[in-house]
């Protein structure tokens, strides 16, 4: 507003002020304010994304930098690589089950807490606690919980619940190990979902619920046609936030399973780390990173487009 006024005043001035208008401090200030972050983001985000993409097209696969252009060779190798194939499978399964569990559990918990039952305040806080931990801590804790000799399995054996499975753990079986990781991740992040849903529920004006009641809607109908549609943005935000965490997951699997047994819990982020820092395959690792970026883009770009459209409509 102030800017527009200033401009008007400047425009009313005699002609010689014309160049002044273009370079006036008031006009420049906003640009100067955002310039540092634009430059930093341009260099350290987009610049390095570009550098990774470029590296993935070279044959730089040793500690000596080699920018010889080889086209899409690394990607061809990558798609033939059984480990990367397993990574993509694992990522998809992990992301879908992690998102489903988090959203459902978080939503359920939020509904419960929203009823303001006795003790719900305490539950709400306790349920949110794991969010304060880092994935490394979660990984270590759950590694021991799943350990067949010391953890949940040992407890079940001691209680004679399932003696047939003696010594065989969820985390040591290639078919179930991924779900051991999913459960650990859900344990940490579903509280976050609950907080988001709770905020969403509390944000729905009481008048809306009242209006539904007045119109003769039952509890189920009110929930289905009034409450749920109001929570759509929350669900979307939760999926975007948790989705990109889960696609890029590294620390949790690094400490919990290191991708094992076999490739059962291996993830692109972990493979990228190993390719670059243990095998010195820089171009190959950059190709994995680029694929990871594309994977996240598939999730985030539709959201951004939707967001922009919403804003345009407003």
């Amino acid at each position: 507003m102030a800017l527009a006024q200033t401009e008007e005043i400047l425009r009313e001035r005699p002609r010689k002020g014309r160049s002044r208008v273009v370079f006036s401090l008031d006009r420049l200030t906003p640009f100067l304010m955002i310039a540092p972050s634009v430059v930093l983001v341009a260099v350290f985000v987009y610049g390095f994304i570009g550098y990774s993409g470029f590296s993935s097209l070279t044959r730089w696969n040793s500690v000596v930098t080699d920018y010889t252009f080889v086209g899409l060779k690394q990607y061809r190798l990558l798609f033939q690589d059984v480990r990367f194939q397993a990574d993509v499978r694992n990522t998809v399964v992990f992301t879908i089950s992690f998102l489903l569990l988090c959203v459902l559990l978080g939503f359920g918990a939020a509904l419960l807490v929203d009823q303001k039952l006795p003790g719900s305040r305490l539950f709400q806080n306790v349920y949110l606690f794991p969010l304060a931990l880092s994935f490394v801590v979660t990984g270590v804790v759950w590694r021991w919980l799943w350990n067949p000799t010391f953890g949940i399995d040992a407890l079940l054996r001691a209680l004679h619940v399932d003696p047939a499975r003696a010594g065989l753990g969820v985390i040591t079986d290639t078919r179930t190990a991924l779900f051991a990781v999913v459960i650990a991740a859900t344990w940490q992040m579903s509280g976050f979902c609950m907080a988001m849903f709770l905020a969403g529920l509390r944000g729905i004006p009481e008048e809306l619920r009242e209006a539904a009641r007045v119109d003769g809607a039952g509890a189920v109908q009110a929930f289905r046609y009034v409450i749920l549609p109001q929570l759509n943005p929350v669900v979307l935000a939760a999926i975007i936030i948790l989705g990109h965490i889960s696609l890029k997951i590294f620390d949790l699997v690094y400490v919990m399973t290191f991708g094992g047994p076999g490739h059962a819990t291996d993830m692109p982020g972990l493979y990228m780390f190993i390719a670059i820092f243990q095998q010195n395959l820089y171009a190959y690792g950059a190709a994995i990173a680029t694929m990871l970026l594309l994977l996240v883009a598939v999730l985030v770009v539709p959201y951004l487009i939707w967001n922009l459209r919403e804003e345009a409509e407003r």
Binding site: S62, V63, V64, T65, R83, R143, W146, N147, P148, T149, G167, L168, G169, I171, T172, T174, T257, F258, G259, G260, P261, G262, H263, A264, I274, F277, Q278, Q279, N280, L281
Partner: protein
């Protein structure tokens, strides 16, 4: 290399200038040093920092490193030692940090590296190391370090690093109380029949394995190849001159699949020390691991005594061979304090330095002339065998093969432990050998 010579001269003259400026204090100390001990003539003049990079942060190894520092400080009191040790992941974190520094041309003065390809296929090939052949010859190390080991740290007619210790990879450990009257196995068939007999006695999983990270299974592979093919076959295979689809490798994989039938099913969640723990507790009889397992047994409370509570034989079929896992120190090009680093290499190579370091680390000296009296009985017999055995480099620990191959083998072995697919695994190994061993 004329540039390094000028650099060395520059450092020397700078040191001399510095001593002249400080009222000749340096010269006084130089005289003292000469009077006190037969140290190298230039010792007292060394000043500045010495940054040593390693992943020795655990109990024992940390103490051994401190002993080396102390010996260095005694000789060169004016040098400030900067301990740049990076913890975590059995050196994998440290190697990642080192890579970044080397690529940015900011090397430490000297760094720990496994003997052989871990250094040669990476930093030597990249032209980032200075050969230390002249230091090697000046110290007369040909006389005290076995030729097999010198070959491992050499390439293109030059020596690239100084070995400080030797671990042994091909070892089968057992709890003597659990073993009872049975004699330890020396062949694969003896091992399986022994495992069977203990299974019949009610020990469900008599062979303990901790495979977290998978390198422990890669050790089973290299030990097995050595047992089935002998040292020459082993060396050729890991140089990329043999084939992993050969029957001897497949036999090894078949044997490994058999052995995996006797191991604890939770092995993927355990590391090697937890496996050694199963042996210590008598829940398993054997475990196959490098001789760092000895340190685990002797540091238990109550401690287990070597040859009384626990014992060791060579991995079945590999007697007479010593799979070496050797830590060395090298000299990066443009080391910021080159003269200090060369002095460090001399301390590391010295008889006294290795005598200080190795009992703490639980390894044996790379020199064969260190008195055996300060070592435990197992180390003493290893020191004897080290002199006479064929020494072969470990692939799993980066000596025989470049790190990228070792890492890929770990991955394949992790798969194999689940699938037990012999021919598929052999093919996968061969594919990685062609990718990483021939270039």
């Amino acid at each position: 290399m004329p540039s390094t010579v000028t650099r060395r001269d520059f450092v020397k003259s700078a040191g001399a200038l510095a001593s002249a400026v400080t009222f000749g204090a340096g010269a006084v100390e130089l005289l003292q040093a000469c009077g006190n001990q037969p140290a190298p003539a230039a010792s007292g003049t060394l000043t500045g920092n010495l940054e040593i990079f390693s992943w020795w942060t655990g109990a024992g190894e940390k103490d051994g490193l401190a002993m080396l520092y102390k010996r260095y400080s005694d000789q060169y009191p004016q040098v400030k030692i900067v301990n740049a040790a990076v913890a975590g992941g059995a050196g994998s974190q440290a190697k990642a940090v080192l890579t970044t520094r080397m690529q940015a041309n900011q090397p430490p003065d000297s760094f720990q590296v496994h003997a052989g390809q871990e250094l040669i296929a990476t930093w030597v090939k990249a032209g980032k190391m200075e050969p230390i052949t002249s230091t090697w010859n000046e110290l007369g190390l040909d006389k005290s370090i076995p030729k097999d080991l010198k070959d491992i740290v050499s390439s293109g007619g030059d020596v690239w690093s100084i070995p400080v210790n030797v671990h042994r990879g091909n070892a089968l450990w057992f709890n003597l109380h659990t073993l009872g009257n049975a004699s330890p196995p020396t062949t694969f068939d003896e091992l399986t029949s022994s495992l069977n007999s203990f299974k019949a006695k009610g020990i469900q999983h008599p062979l303990a394995l901790g495979s977290q990270g998978n390198w422990q299974i890669a050790m089973l592979l290299e030990n097995g190849v050595l047992a089935n093919g002998g040292p020459d076959y082993y060396n050729k295979l890991f140089k990329g001159q043999g084939s992993f689809t050969d029957s001897k490798v497949k036999d090894t994989l078949t044997q490994m699949a058999t052995l995996l039938g006797y191991v604890n099913p939770d092995h993927t969640t355990l590391d090697w020390d937890a496996a050694a723990g199963l042996v210590a507790k008598g829940q398993a009889v054997y475990t196959i691991m490098g001789d760092w397992a000895k340190g685990y047994f002797t540091n238990l409370t109550p401690a287990m005594a070597p040859n009384q509570d626990f014992g060791v034989v060579a991995h079945p079929g590999t007697k007479g061979n010593y799979v070496t896992v050797v830590d060395t120190f090298g000299l990066p090009k443009n080391a910021p304090h080159r003269a200090n680093a060369v002095a460090w290499l001399k301390v590391v190579a010295s008889e006294r330095g290795q005598e200080d370091f190795n009992p703490k680390k639980g390894s044996i000296p790379a020199r064969t002339d260190v008195p055996a009296s300060v070592f435990d009985p197992i180390a003493q017999s290893y020191m004897r065998e080290f002199k006479t055995n064929r020494l072969v480099p470990s692939s799993a620990h980066g000596s025989a093969t470049p790190p990228n191959f070792a890492s890929a083998v770990n991955d394949i072995m992790g798969q194999f432990a689940q699938s037990k697919d012999v021919s598929g695994t052999a093919q996968a190994l061969q594919q990685k050998a062609q990718q990483f061993l021939t270039s």
